[in-house]
Symmetry: D3
Subunit: 338 residues, 6 copies
């Protein structure tokens, strides 16, 4: 194989309601395992990229479930640390039509939140790696995770590994101020940055006169330019614009910015089977384009196509091949070949 | 708590097909319990209103299922009579897309159809009650039920309880002539009347020159005026207008009329998980507005929003809170907060 | 009963994924039995037509499943041959939204593919029969099946039975050249021909200057005229035009041509529960019209309505009555009668 | 085929709890169709005997379900009458271990209970029939059913058809006195009588000094002798003895008596999947032996083996072949042949 | 109603594997809610005793699930405190045959573990109450729970409420030394004590020369005498003896001791559907006997019968009536009454 | 890790009936993947042994399912060949109580049956391997498989790899004569031989005067001695003795013979969840003992314990750890540790 990717983050047990029931009507739950960075690793592995995932898991059957799931998807689990008290968990009441999904988080005190830089053998984990992918969820979980994120980013930089960082701001975990302060420590080392207008405005507190621009694309470009002026090290800015027609009917368009130019994908409208992990599928698609040296237009089309198709797949991860994404981009949906 | 509501009616076992199968393909059925007046009581209880439901149930495990379901929803069951031969039942073949739902009724000889006024302790049941809610299904079931309805309406009036009556005409149970004759005995005692244009035209045999009016809303208002002239005691007229695009894709708009003025809600188009009980959710929403002294515009918006959201909920009753309805009215659908 | 129909072909076990899972996520499969010609026989039997199905099945429990399924639908199974090694099978990954369905065929070496003309008692099977219905899948399966098809067509002709033939070209089984060569042997005996523009262009290699015509309907008519010139024995040409908006959202319009005139049905847009067998439901509807001597316009409306409603029914066959189709054509969808 | 059998009786919808739940914990039910006489017809049809079932069914989808089920099992349905209000129904809470099964009957007012002799074309239905099989449940259901039973028994006798009658006393439907009075009218016409000691003692009020006999078998023989003295027309007396170790662990032994001799089968102890229809499977097995002219010892072994194996089969009817019963009798259980 | 009971403790979400799968094979879990003291309250409520349960629940849908479950069982929830971070959870891999069940506890940091005496209105909660039932699990959970237990026991004593205490030692939560030290503070106030030989030996560190006694019953009596000498306030000692033949095949015998006399129940051997809550069903049965002033022999028979029947019921609580227990004790298992 | 194992064989899709249904009652199937040699590799991998599996799989989603399943169990898949037409399949009607399981094989023309020695890189696959495990099923499948077996056995021998061979005679695939002729070519190279008395008697046609010996164990020893005289290269003979009380109630005892001595395990009686793979679990346990240099008594105890516990696990492979097996051998079944 060629270039390798390593992602680091928390992977949780998702317990979802079944068959359109509310939680208060449920006497069973569907169990899936997922987390942004794990989803990216799994998707890239299904694209044929050599992927590795770093996390910390409890030494019990649930931890073993996670390991089996990662291995089935050919994600390298050699750098996973075992220990801690529990697997982070969340309950998803799956919405439908006009009824929103709702989430009960039960992720505090998780094994991952106790992970430290020192527990890892980072040198070994990052050896010969092309990209290290992280997200803004990890530093929001605990002080040790915040510290770990900074240290591994610096180490990656030192070892010549590209750093990919997804803002992924979660208002239930911390404030925009805390996030902003933290992310600003990381950004000088970042090469690939997943962030959007809201991130620029509320987390980085940038002032862009949005009225000056005609289109969403132009406004987004303006923000990216601003950030790039402060952090000229960032090579790619990437994000999506989602429109919500109903809980299971959305539109999506992708954007990639590099060296002053912005490219957008085709805009898709589509129905949804499982929305969780749609953004991670996009990130994996974009990183695939970068790893494969695709041009920026093709990269954003691939990323958006991958994300759209993910919305039809149950579970957190985008279990599709490169061929399936390319076929969808080229031919659209609805054929049975026989 | 504040003002109390009592509803009286039949609650049936609904046996629905599963997973888009036809009845002739089914070897299992989903079991739910519901009936218009029970649905109203349960919805109001989930809105925080003290609710009580009066019915008659057989003394067997199915009767116990109904009691447990009502209690779980905090509906007072103290005035329920036990006895009779069987629980009314119906089989619902759930339609999809262009295929209509179809129903096999098996409700004859039910325990409820044998309920008499004398079996109830009406004084006790209506003590300190603000609204008594009934529907036109009950008198259609048997002579004793017809008699019971008239007597309890009169007693409620006598005790200063507001009488709410939903026409709910069922052509499989009786003719428009029978219904009209019966309802006219009740209407002089009714305060809140759920009825629409078809009810005015075919059951009350009113003549309104529909051509004279520009809009559905104006025609409806004309009918309500007519009825109000005959029955000036009626304080509120309430109804919805449903448009059916397909079995699982409808539009809905609500209307409330009082003292010569009509108010309509926003019109929603939405996809459907379970249509049964959509009208009852609307009635419960309207009664909630009346109980809480909301203004008429807010009342009809609340009622319509409640009804729309019900269509996404499995089972007959609208298992949502006031906050969830208000949030939907304000923000629409499609967000996951995390 | 009146006029009888016999259909001959392969019936397979379909193992479908459940609940929107991919095959690689599945640990159980839904089992259905179906095949174009069997689907036609079953649909016609549900329309009240006396139907018989000829095939060859292995002598094991799976073969018995097929027999029980046909008998439950009142399809005559007296002419079915038992023997051979296995039941043809296919795995269907049911798509959703933008994700296509995909199929793994595992039908080689099936019992049916070994069926010979000599194993059948064709005289007995075709006695008093009005229509014999076949498709282009059968000759694609094996040499013996190709031979059998030709012989039975000729025998039917000889016995005064109308021959109905559905091109049903399958690119996974043979080439357009092979199909064309084979079909041309059959066409001189065919009375009712299910084929479309692509069949005319690529299989029969006809040259129609499509630019000359304004509409799809006109182009189709031109092709039919061409074919009819070569094979003046063909009394009816029948086909549909499908537009695919997404995997579960299609439009359909039907066409019938006879003696220089073409009739098209209303065009429906509809959501899909199970697309398999949609074309067979159309064929059954068209044959019903022909058997019942309906006029051509009514025939194509009935066929298209039947096909549209099939898309809401799980399994391969259109388990609906004539009344249900007529009610849909007349009233559309969305009512519950109560 | 050879000798034909006709059975007449009620077939009901059985709604059973799933997965060891109590009814009060259930939100879905398994749906099966069954009734003693239908079960006998289906079992015999699976043994290769030409079988016909007479009943009355409502004209709705549930009635159609019954028809499809009978046809799938190749039971002739030509003499079934359509009409009446409802399909008899019962709810079965399936017990386990020390917890008994319990039943809620909801069979009153069924279509079958309104069936009259005059609605049937008995001459046609009994033409060329070898055995007519009935049970004591039918006359317990209504006056018209009681009358029908007597008339069809007499007609059968007149037409030379053997009459098989299973006492099947149901204490929830009538008293032993009513049953006794009724059965005594039938017994002079009966050829094959399914009844046991309790039937002799409590229904026929016979006095047998049980103390005089050493074994169950001898006591049973004494009762049969007594009955045979009164009704010398009865050719065979047949019954089983069941011992209940727990709800899912029983023993069973079969007995057949003819012309003063009694034969018993091997006694089996076995675990239970579905006990409903165990007695009907025994009856079908015994009738099979009689139809096939097996000797009495082989007949009772076949009947008992068939009944034991039925207890492992879901649903009411014994869906096994003659070969499977014979193989079990010969080789017992537990082998996988591969 | 008559005498009331209040129980206090933690109620957890139990996520169990389905259909004999291991956790590592599971992609869904059955959800039940239970905890020793809640199970006792629910069982007693199903016996017709007025029951109330005190706990602390998070303010989310899972907390609401617990409330709905308690209400459905008519358990008073008025004294439940809302707040804290999470609902205690555990995963149960349900064993079978020779494979043990195994449990992953995830109960730390639960809402209940933060409950304090001060958050409760104990005066109100214990008003007119006959028995307060607690267990040794509560003090093992946190310091505040340990403190709460002591305070509420003393308050109950002061208010004349009988104190029932179940040792329920859990080695995963604390050591025998910690438990012993704590329990000794409670025992001077206890009236009804659920404890066995192991509790006497290892927790209370009593020395009984077991060799001196012939039977289990005599040894148990000796321990009870010893404890009673130290704590003469204890009126009843109660426990069971379980023998495990396999995971789903156990035997059980109950014992009750009072004023120097010991009574044992019949010993049952039975198969198991759900073992969780078997001990709580026994405790509820014993408390029922005490509340109803049954004699000691009848009490222990009732308690043991109740516990045995619980093992056939899914979920934690014994959803059976007094009649069902009495019927089982009298008639055993295996009859269907029809 | 330490010593490595490689196994080679066919892995099939098993489609099993669900919930005690017969195939003719089934409309869905449980899907598992398994085959003797794969089961051995997976079990050993779960014991912590480095395992690799060699086979040939079709290049479709079903092939991918197999790969994912093996990877999830950490079995090395690097030597698996992709190609051929289909995955071997079989349908298992799961028996219960007295009803036997039955199997429909549909494995002909499988990808594996076309595998040749030349398609493999045997040198690489066997490098540093301690044991190569094969079975007598492989040569029964095709000529190429027969040839491949012989060649790889010889190559293994040449490379110093221990050869383990399980007779696993399948009467549906070939005759005892064919098997005997083939196995005799392999036996001179075998080190570990899984075979029993029937194999010695019917396949190797040995004459042992069984009457001379007192016990099963002595007879078995006599056969092993005979074989060992002919093939002195064989170091271990291993087998089990199974007694079948009913389909889900068996007893099992294991035997190992080496250098003239025979050791037997404890005999277990146990209930069964899934019998498929019980023998493979035994083989894996025995190979584990050999790999870990356990003594022969401990080896046979471990193997038998492993096999017994497998019967409680769904699917073909023994998904348990060494600790779980050891704990079962030491403590038996029935405890929940909490």
């Amino acid at each position: 194989m060629g270039k390798k990717i390593v992602t680091l983050g928390e992977i949780m047990l998702r317990l979802s309601t079944i068959d359109n029931k509310r939680i208060i009507q449920s006497n069973s739950f569907q169990a899936d395992y997922g987390g942004g960075e794990a989803n990216v690793a799994i998707s890239l592995s299904n694209f044929g990229i050599e992927s590795s995932f770093i996390t910390k898991l409890p030494e019990n059957y649930l931890g073993e479930c996670v390991l089996r799931y990662l291995k089935a998807n050919q994600v390298n689990t050699n750098n996973i640390v075992l220990g801690g008290e529990r697997l982070g968990t969340y309950y998803l009441e799956v919405g439908s039509g006009v009824r929103n999904s709702s989430v009960i988080y039960d992720r505090k005190y998780s094994s991952f939140s106790t992970l430290t830089y020192e527990e890892l053998n980072v040198e070994k984990a990052l050896k010969d790696v092309y990209i290290l992918h992280l997200s803004g969820i990890t530093p929001a979980l605990s002080e040790s995770c915040k510290d770990l994120t900074l240290k591994i980013i610096k180490k990656a930089k030192e070892m010549g590994v590209l750093v990919s960082f997804d803002f992924n701001f979660r208002g239930k975990l911390w404030t925009v101020e805390e996030a902003g302060k933290t992310f600003k420590e990381y950004l000088p080392y970042v090469d690939i940055c997943f962030a959007g207008i809201l991130d620029g405005k509320y987390i980085l507190k940038l002032n862009v006169d949005e009225e000056k621009y005609d289109s969403f694309s132009e406004i987004l470009k303006a923000y990216y330019k601003e950030i790039n002026t402060i952090y000229p090290n960032i090579k790619y800015f990437i994000s999506t614009k989602r429109e919500i027609h109903s809980v299971d009917d959305n539109s999506l368009e992708g954007f990639i910015y590099s060296k002053g130019c912005i490219y957008n994908s085709k805009k898709y409208r589509f129905s949804i089977v499982d929305r969780v992990g749609g953004g991670d599928a996009f990130a994996a698609g974009a990183l695939y384009g970068i790893i494969q040296d695709m041009n920026l237009k093709d990269t954003v089309e691939f990323a958006t196509g991958a994300s759209v198709i993910k919305h039809t797949i149950k579970g957190d991860a985008n279990l599709v091949s490169v061929e399936e994404v390319e076929n969808f981009i080229k031919n659209g949906a609805g054929k049975i070949s026989r």
